[in-house]
Each structure stands twice: as structure tokens, then as C-alpha cells.
């Protein structure tokens, strides 16, 4: 099949950026979306034109590095699918596609379709962990976890940190990402001691990073390639309110070694 792409080209963060039109003939239905872009890039290199920059790594839908908007939909808008796992059999001959990077103030553009998602790491650094020193843990079975709770923790822990939730959200909120980590750790007995403090620290970091507030629109859930549920945001809000009402001010980052 033959496709027409309109791709966001932006040389660097300072450049203004624009959509550029490309024709891609000979698209095979078994190709992944990124393989289709590889083929286009090979032809651009042959012509001496700068290939399109996009982030990608594992191409198995698990590392979370890839992601772009296709016709306004994060990762192309197929249920539970990252762009690297989206195959061309879902498109048809003559389709016209618009490829744009994640759009959010907290995700500055690096080049073309690649953005900087360091803000998500800083949210984890603020409190998305359990403070356990290496080598001092009790036996694994000394902490029993109800299967149902463990399954709910795993559902939330499946987040790959790709940023699709932020890109899909009209407010560019990171609530699904943050809520997923808070929910993962909050469902486990190990996560209880720091639970309130964790939610306060992570929510505060979202504010510092310029992510806006969640207004329960739910676009994030529709776009999430790992189908994280809205309930994680509910849990984040509940933990936050409880924390804000009952905690005394302490260092938010834990104590240093």
C-alpha cells in the first residue's frame, strides 16, 4: 500500500518546527509502524536528506521509549498498543497520516518526534519507591500479600512511563503515571509506612514540573498502551488528601544515607 505522511520536523528545541509531507510507497502490511518509518528514513538518507528522529528501543512494547501522535491519537490510538507494536495491517492504501511528537509543556522537544521526559524520572525520585537498603530484607515469604492485592499492584505496576497519558490529556496532566506508581506501592504491605508521604511528595513534584491538574476527563486511560485504569488516580487523590490532613511537615525525600 501507499501512504502519505505529514511529519513534524523540528531541528532542535530552538527551531520553530513545521509539518513536512512524505510519500511512502510499498508499505507491507506485516511491517510495524516504526519499520515503516525506518524504510522512509533509508530513502531519505539515500536522497541526502536528514532522516526523521524518533525515540524507540525495545520494539516489544515494554521499554516505553517510543511514542508519537498519529492523527491526534497517542501511539496511533489502537487499544493497549504502543506505536512499536502497531502493525501496518491496520491502515489502508491511500491513508494520509499526521505524525507529531508528544505535546506538553513538561516534555520539551529534542528533535522532530523525540521529546525529553525527564520530568517523569523526577517524579519517581521524589517518592516513588520503598526505602529499603540493599541486603537487609527479611525472607520473601515473611511478608504475605493477598493475591487480589498483589494482582491490583501488578495492574498498576505495568505502567511503562511512555508519557502517552500526558500527551493525550487536554490538561497535560501526569496523574495516570503518578497514580499508577502510588497505586502499585500502596496496594502492598511494604508500601504502607511511606504511603501518605509518598503521595504528597509525588504530587508536589508534578506541580513543580509544570504538569497541570487532572479534571477526570479520562483521555489518559483511553490512550494508555498498558490499559492502566482511572482508579489509580482516585487512589492517588485519596492518599494525598489523607496525607495532607494528617502529616506533619517532614523532609519529602527521605533521609540521606
Amino acid at each position: 500500500m501507499k501512504l502519505t505522511l505529514h511529519v513534524w520536523r523540528q531541528k532542535n528545541a530552538q527551531d520553530k518546527g513545521r509539518l513536512v509531507r512524505y510519500e511512502v510507497p510499498n508499505v507491507n502490511e506485516h511491517m510495524s509502524f516504526l519499520e515503516m518509518l525506518d524504510v522512509l528514513n533509508e530513502s531519505l538518507i539515500e536522497k541526502g536528506e536528514d532522516p526523521i528522529a524518533f525515540d524507540h528501543d525495545c520494539r516489544e512494547g515494554i521499554c516505553g521509549m517510543c511514542g508519537m501522535m498519529v492523527n491526534g491519537k497517542a501511539h496511533g490510538g489502537h487499544k493497549g498498543t504502543t506505536i512499536c507494536q502497531l502493525h501496518m495491517r491496520h491502515f489502508k492504501d491511500g491513508d494520509e497520516l499526521y505524525l507529531e511528537p508528544w505535546r506538553a509543556k513538561a516534555f520539551p522537544i529534542v528533535k522532530d518526534l523525540a521529546v525529553n521526559r525527564g520530568a517523569l524520572d523526577r517524579i519517581i525520585a521524589a517518592g516513588g519507591f520503598i526505602s529499603v537498603p540493599t541486603g537487609s530484607a527479611p525472607d520473601g515469604n515473611a511478608i504475605p500479600v493477598q493475591k487480589q492485592e498483589s494482582d491490583l499492584a501488578m495492574d498498576a505496576a505495568a505502567c511503562i512511563g511512555c508519557g502517552a497519558c500526558v500527551a493525550a490529556c487536554p490538561n497535560a496532566a501526569a496523574a495516570l503515571f503518578t497514580g499508577a506508581k502510588i497505586s502499585h506501592l500502596g496496594h502492598l504491605p511494604q508500601g504502607q509506612p511511606e504511603r501518605d508521604r509518598r503521595s504528597m511528595a509525588m504530587v508536589e513534584q508534578m506541580r513543580i514540573e509544570d504538569f497541570a491538574n487532572c479534571t477526570n476527563i479520562g483521555e489518559c486511560v483511553a490512550a494508555c498502551p498498558k490499559e492502566i485504569q482511572l482508579e489509580v488516580i482516585v487512589r492517588m487523590n485519596r492518599d494525598y488528601i489523607k496525607g495532607a490532613l494528617t502529616n506533619r511537615p517532614t523532609s519529602l525525600k527521605g533521609d540521606s544515607a
Binding site: E35, I130, T134, G254
Partner: protein, 637 residues
Amino acid sequence: MELKSNVPTGPIEQAWDKHRFDLKLINPANKRKYNIIVVGSGLAGGAAAASLGELGYNVQCFCYQDSPRRAHSIAAQGGINAAKNYHNDGDSIYRLFYDTVKGGDFRAREYNVYRLAQVSVNIIDQCVAQGVPFAREYGGNLDNRSFGGAQVSRTFYARGQTGQQLLLGAYQALERQVGLGTVKMYSRRDMLDLIVINGQARGIVTRNLLDGKIEVHLADAVILATGGYGNVFYLSTNAKGCNATAIWRAYKRGALFANPCFTQIHPTCIPVAGEYQSKLTLMSESLRNDGRIWVPKNAGDKRVPNSIPENERDYYLERRYPSFGNLVPRDIASRAAKAECDAGRGVGPSGLGVYLDFADAIKRLGKHKIEERYGNLFEMYERITGENPYEVPMRIYPASHYTMGGLWVDYNLMSTIPGMFVGGEANFSDHGANRLGASALMQGLADGYFILPYTIGNYLATAKPGPVSADAPEVREALANVTNITNRLLGTKGTRSVDSFHRELGKIVWEYCGMGRNATGLQKALGLIPALREEYWKNVRVLGSNEEFNQSLEKAGRVADFFELAELMCLDALNRNESCGGHFREEYQTPEGEAMRDDDKYTYVAAWEYKGPGQSPALNKEPLEFKYVHPSQRSYK
């Protein structure tokens, strides 16, 4: 060169504890005076950086991705082994040790493997405490499953995303230290050279992938935990960015490269679909617990699988290996699949595939149970192939997955360059000639959490590296070297893309140094590779400049190193006139077609030493001793 393995003597059960006691300590107040560089942020690197930061050292951690959470450890699906014996099925540290030494076809160091089995128990405890959501039974206890090469249930797992969850555990511990200021994280950096001053590793040169700045970072010790080199094949199960540049450039600075020919071919990957294909996707080996592998009995049988009656199917693994059946180790399962396809019984459009069939398991356990166990893997398969594996059997074929070779390290995981340590897949240790399932995660975390933090302290306390200047001639020389390589790649202005060269190189390595090798093929490859490399340096086209985000330039340097590494792999494969594990030399097989080792001549680690450009590398041998598990023909019948 004399290879000092520093393996302890005395009873193997007490060796690590005794060794640990003998290691010198550093006063907590002095730890912050030491700087340690960690290159790589996966299970080994992330865990090491987090643990060293927690101990109080100043740590600088580097990765090429935009975040440490992307390291390819994240893609491991199946599980992690630990000798917990929670299921009372006869497991023990000694049995895990025994299985690993035997599984590695007697080409690993016994004392290293024993230590690995020993700390496996602590790894699970550590990860549980971090909040890794391992699978649980209804009573709240940890669940287990079995994996290829083992007859006990010792594999801990988190759905089909075990690597992801273990990595996130290490990543969270790492980010905690970043927040506390003990670790400084440098993402989107490629390590392009190692700085060696007075014979000691003292720093690295990196390229900032965002703006092309070439940076120098100095330290008292350097850890490389940069993963394996499986992408030398172009098509592999590795992430696209996985590369050998850091370890290869360290090799050129004097670190020995051990057993490069030991490549693991994984039996359960989705077959190649076409020429444009950029990578291969692995289906977890855990699928072999319930899936049955078969091909049609008659060559060229092109009927759809469900219309082939039971008596016209050959469940060849169950037939050939009745006691292990579909759970034979990876090297055996891979070669058996190749043999069936070579005999014309392969399935699918290319004929390079065998069926992995869940029909019996679905009948026995119900679709629901299969969905619970492998649901996400089934979805992934369907997404890629467009076929529903609940209704038609999956098609699988072997693919390059994991490399057991890597930089040579001693028992302390230190390379032949003092002060440079190597962890995880980047070193050669522990797996021997073949890696058993669920043991890569175990080794990565063992190195990162429980070995390097101790042994590095001993190095710093005894070697006392002392101050070093950024103006040292060695630093300037390393910077000039990096600039030269970059300028050369940008200045070639040829006509062929980097990828086209990489694809061609990959085909040569797969054909002549892949699942099966022979002397004639290897000699042929040793002619083809240098010729293609020469063309590369004359005709590669890298557009743009260094001073920008330039993904073609990143790739170009990595592929240049793969060319050199590919040659060393073939040389090593040609030297080893025997078959063992992931190294199957067709000339050396038993009458039944199994790998035939030559223990008298090849019970050694082949450690190659760089001798300068255009020179043949020198072969150094570290003899291996087997005092506890006596080498025998591996049998899984």
C-alpha cells in the same frame, strides 16, 4: 598475560563468606570521598549504582536512553531463579549450582556459579521488600513455575513482565538515590572511550547524544554494565540501541575479551516475516511449560495445523528427550528446531518455523487458566502476526538472544584493567557456554546488589587510586581518539546507509557463526567481514554533524565496533574445536547429533588480548577446574 582469577580455595559452600570477610572495608566517612562511574542502568548497573550510592559513595551513572528505566533488562519476560525450595520439591543452593554448571556445559567457573546460587535467595528477598509484585498464591505466599533445563519449580515471576518489574525495583532504588543526591544520573550519553592512567581505569569519555558534546568524566573506579552484544546479528531479540561499544573500546584499552563465540540462540521467537524487519520478538520460554512443540511428520506438509491429525504430527522434543520433553535447555531446543526445518518439515510461509501448540493445555486447564498464565504473551503474538494463538498454534523459530561471552573478569568482577569492573551480561562469567532460563536476571542483580558493592570497596581500600587531573595526557589522548572516530565517520560521505551495512554484516555472522558453525564457513566469514568493514569506512553515509541530536551518527560508531567484534567471534569459534552449549561446531557431534565437548583440550576460558590495529589478537587461556560437578555428557533424555 597471566590471568589471575582470584578464585578462593577451600570448601565452596564457605568461599564467598570467607572471601567477603577478607575484603578490606572503607570507613563510612571516607566513602563519600570516592567517585565511582557506572555505565549502564539495567539490572546490574542500576542495582550497583543504587547500592553504591546507598553505601555513601559518589556515583555517576550513565545510560544511552532518555531514562534509566528503559534498559533492556526490562524486556525479560519469564522469571528469575532462586533456590528457595518454597515448594518442597527438592531444590537447594547446591542443586541450582549443579544445574547451572551442567547447563553451561562445563565452561563456567564453579566458585562463581556457587556464589550466584547462594545470593539468589537474597535477591528475591530484596526485590519483595522493594515492592516487586511477584505472582502470589491465594495464601499470600510467593508462587513459582518451572523453566527450561530444570526439573524443580524455582522461577519467581511477575506475569510475563518479570524483567520489567525487577528493573523498576532497581530503578526506583536508583531514583531514590538520585533524589538524595548520592547518584548523579546522566541519560542520553554514549560511552566512547575508557581513560586509563598509570594502568588504572580512571574515567570515561562520553558523547552527549542531545548536543554532541564530548565530555570527560573522571573517577576512582569504573563499572561497565552495558549488556550483551547480540545486535552484532542485526536481527536479534535485543533492543535496537543495545551495543558493544563500551566494552569494545575498553577491550582496545587492554581489557581481555572472553569467549566471544558463546552466543545463546533462543528457541521461542516469532519467525522473521520480511526483509524490512528491524528486530525479532521473543516469546517467553515459560510458554514451553504448557505448550507442546511439533512439526508435521511429512516434509512439505502445507496443510493448516488444525487439520493435521495427531498421528501425522511429530512432537520431536518429547520423542527425543522423554524426561525433559519440551523443557530441554535452550541450545538443545534451538538446534532441534533447526534440524527439523533443515529436513524440510518447517512450517509457515518461510519454512523456518515450528508449532508451539496450546490446544492440549486449553483442553486440560481451560482457556481461563491459560489466559491468566500467558495472556499478555498471547496478545503480543497476535498483535505481531495477526493470528490468534488460542485458536491456531503459535509459530516459533530460534533467534540470537543473549551473549555469554564478554569482558574477562576475576572473582571480584574486575577486568584485567585494575579499577574497571564489569557486571551482568557485559562480563563473561557464570553462564558458561549456555545460559539456563531465568538466570540472566539472577546474575545481573547478584552482580549489582550483592557482589560489586563489596569488591569495589576492597579495590579502593587497597589500590588507593589517588587524585587525577583532567589535563593528563591520557585524557587528552582519549578525547582525540573519540573526535577522530567521529570525524572520520562524518567525513566519509559515501553512498550506503549504516543500516544497510549492519544488515549485511548480520547475515554473515548468522550464516557462519550462528546456530551451527564449521571451519570452512568460519574461514569464509573471516574473509568477508574485513572486506565489508573496509567498504564501510570508504562508503558509509552519515548525514548531519556531531553538534546535534544525530541518531545515524550514534549507530555508525556502534556498527563500526560490531564489525571488529564479529571478526573476533569467528576467530574464537574457529579456535574452539569442540561443541559446547551455544557454540555448536558441526564437525564435533555425537552420533545422535548432540554437542560433543573436548574436555581434554578446551576446558578453558578463551581470553583475547588486543594487540593494536591490524594485528591478530593474542589468545590467553584461563584453565577451568571442576572439583564439585564432574564434567559428563549432558543428557536430557
